[in-house]
Symmetry: C3
């Protein structure tokens, strides 16, 4: 099974493709730290779009997602962006729980698995 690593750093890679599946890092809003929840989520899904593209996949091929919310009441604001991002008929199996994230600047963290095109 061939492994392709996207933006492989010394600590982690932003995404790894193994066989027909792509696994992304738990993505946070590094482009919008401290912003409101919807803005952070938009920053995250834009980066996921880019990573999936680099790995030969896209959001229509999402398989599963794990969403960590710093606060449970961020749920609706996260979903306001999520619901527009995902495509009807192509939605992943999603898990969503509360978790304290590495920085108080981050409200949401999303990791996904997708199938290559």
């Amino acid at each position: 099974m061939e492994i392709v690593r996207i933006e492989a750093g010394p600590r982690y890679s932003q995404a790894v493709r193994a066989g027909g599946l792509v696994f992304t890092i738990g993505q946070v809003a590094i482009g919008a730290p401290g912003a409101d929840v919807a803005t952070q989520t938009a920053d995250i899904v834009a980066r996921l779009d880019r990573l999936l593209e680099e790995a030969g996949s896209d959001k229509s091929r999402l398989v599963c997602a794990t969403v960590y919310l710093a606060e449970l009441h961020f749920y609706e604001a996260m979903n306001s962006v999520w619901d527009k991002w995902v495509q009807t008929g192509s939605t992943p199996a999603r898990t969503c729980v509360q978790a304290n994230l590495l920085s108080p600047d981050y409200a949401v963290e999303i990791a996904v698995v997708a199938a290559v095109r």
Copy 2:
């Protein structure tokens, strides 16, 4: 790689099959909210059985599971049902941590990956 989505909704699918693997949603006891931990766990694994069947798999093909407990002291009550559900010789790699779940009515959340038959 073919993708098959089970109960695909506008926000998420209950399970997604990609290649030979099935990924389920983080399942909560939507059939028994607020019930005791064992009852909720039984509700969850019954739904997982149904989803795996729909996806062409079953509990003998479990690969991994992530169990989120709203309270760590729910561990034994969850396991009392889990241990009867899984089959000796077919147990998945399991991760179990505490996490605050989306509703206080839910005590347990379980997501699994299984291989198709």
Copy 3:
């Protein structure tokens, strides 16, 4: 798809190989409970090395990892061991969040997915 289970117990298996991927349990420092964070992390990655070997893989084939920290300020101590363990050019997609673990003796829990050799 063939399934191979490593150290299959009645509740869970330490690792499960399905097709070309290996999924490990969320590993804690059962060899060093209560030890400092770096020592616990070293205990965990040594056990992951052994499990991956048994499953026909190794750390050069890591695909993704989920790291749960009992306390967020354990991040640097965990990384001090992680950074030496992983190989430049072979780093997995990693997710790291805080989570309360099953015993207060455990500071870190790490689950990985790897591709077989």
